[in-house]
């Protein structure tokens, strides 16, 4: 057995195992949150892909890259979304240096 086997993606529907009620509620919520609403399915799929990339989830990267392709989203559009995610991650990291710098200033002589 190895970690992160691609075929394990197919196991996602089974995460309801041993906690059926909560699992079902999650899927209901997941469906509502990712389906078309005021935002289109395309927009939500790009958000989902970007989150998957920033959170390093191989299953979601696989699922949402394929979904974006299915919806006709181009490689260029996906890459642009990835840069938005990457910039956000960099920004979030650097914004947190405020904490770091505050502590340094407080504690350094």
């Amino acid at each position: 057995m190895s970690y992160y086997e691609p075929k394990d993606l197919a196991d996602f529907p089974n995460i309801t195992e041993w906690a059926q009620k909560e699992g079902n509620k999650f899927f209901e919520y997941y469906g509502a949150a990712t389906g078309a609403g005021k935002l289109t399915e395309r927009e939500k799929s790009l958000i989902a892909l970007t989150v998957a990339l920033t959170q390093n989830c191989p299953y979601c990267i696989d699922a949402y890259t394929t979904k974006c392709m299915s919806l006709g989203i181009s490689s260029e559009e996906m890459m642009e979304a990835a840069h938005t995610g990457a910039a956000m991650m960099a920004g979030v990291t650097l914004a947190h240096t405020t904490q770091m710098r505050k502590i340094i200033r407080k504690k350094e002589m």
């Binding site: 691609p6 078309a36 395309r42 392709m69 299915s70 006709g72």
Partner: protein, 336 residues
């Protein structure tokens, strides 16, 4: 690849259950036709293009062309039975020398007529007049445009094809095709440029409509999403790119029992260039003629034996029942 070899490959799908097993689970086995509403006529395998996704393996080198006696037999059947739609396909139907005559005769029968044209051929001098013939006879045009992006579309259909399709669409729009209240319809077929399934037809139609109008000034009526079936050149591609197993399992995981009720073969009869009868154009390419006691050639046409015939299914049929379903008229079930 020979039909027999394709069927051999489709028969060895590892731990994926066969399609007939899946259908048995839904109590819809065997699948039986519910009449003949569409006569789909394959006028031949000759084509001016050689697209990578072509399930017909059509191209300029092919010589198979439907003859006039077979077309006459089609007309005889059409005038004897209330078959609503005449669907002309190929190859490039325009390359059959009898097409103009056939459309003229078929028009008198007052049925819906559809021609599946690659449009690029309509820009060639020898075939340009078909634009007017189609318009005069109110023939609905269905054309394949795999993507609204030129680079992606051309990867599948060949360099320069996208530009020609757009040029032909502009001319057809000028004739009224795709324009409001003209009575002339032109529909676009989208199929994935790669080893994945098509997404929501409504979402893709919206995107195609917006982009084709904004970037190229062209109009169309409807977008049909077609799932690539693992046969013909597309099967070669899946094997060469190492995607066959993943693709088949994606098809199987997307199996939709609701789509089984609406597969197009239930209401279609497909005629091959030499008169053989098939449940659909895909079975035609796999040499799977109608079976279970139905006559195998149009010259022995027998409505009673054909209208409720048992459909010949195989694992390629997964492509018709995955997701929202897929047919020559796009998705076959409503989206969520």
């Amino acid at each position: 690849m020979e039909a027999r070899e394709q069927l051999r490959i489709l028969g060895q799908i590892g731990d994926i259950p066969s399609l007939s097993e899946k259908i048995r689970e839904t109590n819809m086995f065997p699948l039986c036709a519910k009449g003949i509403d569409i006569l789909q006529i394959n006028l031949g395998k000759r084509c001016n293009l050689s697209c990578r996704h072509c399930h017909v393996d059509a191209g300029p080198h092919r010589t198979e062309i439907m003859t006039r006696p077979i077309l006459e037999k089609c007309l005889e059947i059409l005038s004897s039975f209330p078959i609503a739609t005449i669907d002309m396909t190929g190859g490039a139907p325009e390359m059959n020398p009898h097409l103009e005559w056939f459309i003229g005769e078929a028009a008198r029968l007052n049925r819906q007529m559809i021609v599946r044209s690659n449009l690029t051929i309509l820009l060639e001098e020898a075939y340009r007049h078909f634009m007017d013939i189609f318009a005069q006879n109110k023939v609905e045009i269905v054309t394949s445009l795999p993507d609204y992006l030129e680079t992606k579309s051309d990867r599948q259909r060949g360099a320069g094809v996208f530009g020609k399709i757009i040029a032909a669409l502009r001319e057809l729009n000028a004739l009224g095709y795709g324009m409001k209240n003209s009575g002339l319809r032109i529909d676009i077929v989208h199929n994935p440029v790669g080893a994945y399934l098509p997404g929501s037809q409504a979402a893709l139609e919206h995107e195609y409509r917006t982009r084709l109008l904004a970037e190229h000034g062209v109009h169309f009526n409807q977008l049909f999403c077609l799932t690539n079936l693992p046969i013909g050149r597309y099967l070669d591609y899946l094997i060469e790119s190492g995607n066959l197993d993943d693709y088949l399992s994606a098809l199987c995981h997307s199996f939709n029992p609701a789509a089984v009720k609406n597969v197009m073969c239930l209401t279609t009869l497909s005629v091959g260039w030499e008169g053989s009868l098939y449940d659909c154009d895909f079975n035609q390419m796999l040499d799977l003629t109608v079976n279970h006691g139905a006559p195998k050639n149009i010259m022995n046409f027998d409505m009673d034996k054909l209208k409720n015939r048992e459909i010949v299914i195989n694992n390629h049929c997964y492509g018709c029942v995955a997701g929202c379903g897929s047919s020559c008229r796009g998705a076959t079930t409503e989206e969520d």
